[in-house]
């Protein structure tokens, strides 16, 4: 067994053509290496998000290059920018349409806390309406910061108990 039980261990000398692992670990391995983002670009952070997707920073190194503009095909909502109260419920509706399991990155100061906008019109952090997994500091954060957040999220996804959460889902009668 590997030292970290959430990682997949494979020793060719011992195991040959057979991989011995835990179901949680292998399912999480699938999940965390293909987090398809839903780019919720609302302000200048979205420009950095685009840069993260382009060749210089290349988010595809982490399996997240498939930006889906449909919530039904995405796993990860990247809220990049200022969430106004007028936009708030639209963001929530898009999040609600994403299939489980799903995660949220609040990219930048605005999405995390409202940023410099202490105002009647700006929601003071998207965590008022969504469960945020990773917050990224910066105004706007550089693409590297977003990639770091993605790696942190991958670590988090890798530790989630898949089987148990699926059993815990309510059974419809």
């Amino acid at each position: 067994m590997p030292e970290n039980p959430t990682e997949i261990g494979y020793n060719t000398k011992i195991e040959g053509d057979v991989i011995v692992t835990r179901a949680d670990a292998v399912l999480n391995w699938f999940r965390k290496n293909s987090l398809w983002p839903m780019p919720m670009g609302l302000a200048c952070c979205a420009i950095e998000l685009m840069a993260a997707g382009s060749s210089r920073f290349d988010i595809s190194r982490f399996g997240s290059e498939v930006m889906r503009f449909s919530p039904r095909q995405s796993d990860l909502m990247i809220v990049a920018g200022t969430v106004t109260y007028k936009m708030g419920l639209a963001v929530k509706r898009i999040y609600d349409q994403m299939a489980e399991p799903k995660w949220v990155i609040a990219m930048g100061a605005c999405a995390s806390t409202g940023g410099m906008y202490r105002s009647y019109a700006v929601m003071q952090g998207v965590d008022n309406i969504l469960p945020v997994d990773v917050y990224v500091a910066g105004c706007p954060p550089r693409p590297e910061a977003l990639l770091d957040a993605l790696m942190k999220l991958q670590t988090k996804v890798g530790k989630e108990p898949v089987i148990r959460t699926q059993k815990a889902l309510p059974v419809e009668a």
Partner: protein, 194 residues
Amino acid sequence: MSTTAKRLAQKLKKAFSTALGSVSEFRDELTLIVTDPAQIKDVCQYAKTELGFDYLVDVSSVDNYGEDPRFEVVYEMYGYEHQAHLRLVATVSEESAVIPSVTSVWKTADWHEREIYDMMGISFEGHPDLRRILMWEGYPYFPLRKDFPLAGKATELPEVAFSKPAPLEGGPFVTTAGSEDRQRGEPRSKSVSS
């Protein structure tokens, strides 16, 4: 300051001597006070068709809270032909908060007037589509009025939007009113704890 602008302003004043007040000049800009706001549409129509002010640069509004009349609506106009600029300032009282729309003169006034309606709560008589433009339909306040708090107010409109007051708490975002100079009043000179 172009003599053309002065000449045109005097011409406009002569045509509407009952509706217009004095012409004032400040830093090479001409301002005409509209003493009878009910005639603003006719004044603008004349300025456009007879005096060649074919471009409405902006319409904005001012809240002189505590004074009467409370509001001012400011029209910035410009003519491409003679390249002269002129500003009209019309006063609007708090009780009526209504002024005729100039959308029939310049189409571009449409969204400017909707913004003023949304932010300041001044209605425009004869506007073809006077809805809120920035805030959502059903928002109960006019947020750029001086008696509206900077932090905002809590509202709830199910299925549409909600809002909560933003935390200010004397933080780095708040300008201190009445401080001796801007250096001390501006947010950047303050630490978060003070």
